[in-house]
């Protein structure tokens, strides 16, 4: 997995490429936490180029969402493929996150 971070209209946008799994989840978590500690509050993580997120990856997203909310911010997710959406629905995490089809939709109103 690799990821890139850009600031767009005051929102921190993280593009994830590759799988978010138990072996690499901490890299993404630390990067977002660094941005949060640096004062950023609004986040979008885009998974358009991600084929698979395992339960550990889902757990990291839950943990990040909690920490961002505690700081008065918001984390949105975008670009989930059909399989990933199914995993979010099965685990009911689709009720926890605002999930949009595209990054642009996620940025609207954030």
């Amino acid at each position: 997995m690799s990821f890139s971070v850009v600031k767009q209209d005051g929102v921190t946008v993280v593009d994830v490429e590759g799988q978010l799994i138990v072996g690499n989840r901490q890299e993404l978590k630390q990067k977002v936490l660094d941005e949060l500690e640096g004062g950023e509050r609004r986040f979008v993580i885009d998974f358009r180029q991600t084929g698979y997120i395992d339960s550990s990856g889902l757990g990291v997203l839950v943990s990040l969402s909690k920490k961002i909310r505690e700081q008065g911010g918001e984390l949105r997710l975008s670009g989930l493929n059909e399989d990933l959406r199914t995993l979010f629905e099965l685990t009911k995490l689709d009720t926890l996150f605002r999930i949009t089809h595209t990054k642009e939709e996620a940025l609207q109103g954030l």
Partner: protein, 146 residues
Amino acid sequence: METTFVLEVPNDLRAIERAVDLVVGRCQTCESQARRFRLNFRVALAEALANAMLYGNGSDPHKRVRVDVTVNDAEVSARVTDQGAGFDPDAVEDPTTPENLMRPGGRGLFLMRQLLDEVRFNDRGNSVTLILRLEESASFDEAASA
């Protein structure tokens, strides 16, 4: 026709993807149910391997995980066995309840049970058998909407 094979996987999280690829690659009869196999079986096997390495074997690099795979016209099964003391799977809480939804962990076993037709443990709790039936099983979409 039935095919059986065994993988001995090092206790290294980086080995999971390759191990799953190996198992999936040997299952030619599963192609007719591509999505259920690609998503349901792959996800469940990867979760079982991660649990075995992290919790069963306690991340000990000297331990190994054994995977016994059986494929026939009716089903594919994988028995994932670690070298740990075992655990009580019934003690794992439902991660989808409101009080558990914000917890970072506890979704691996839940996903296995949701995605497969049968998940069973041995008495010791260090071996889990994952079964995906290839015929007359509930479709993934039915399971997902349940």
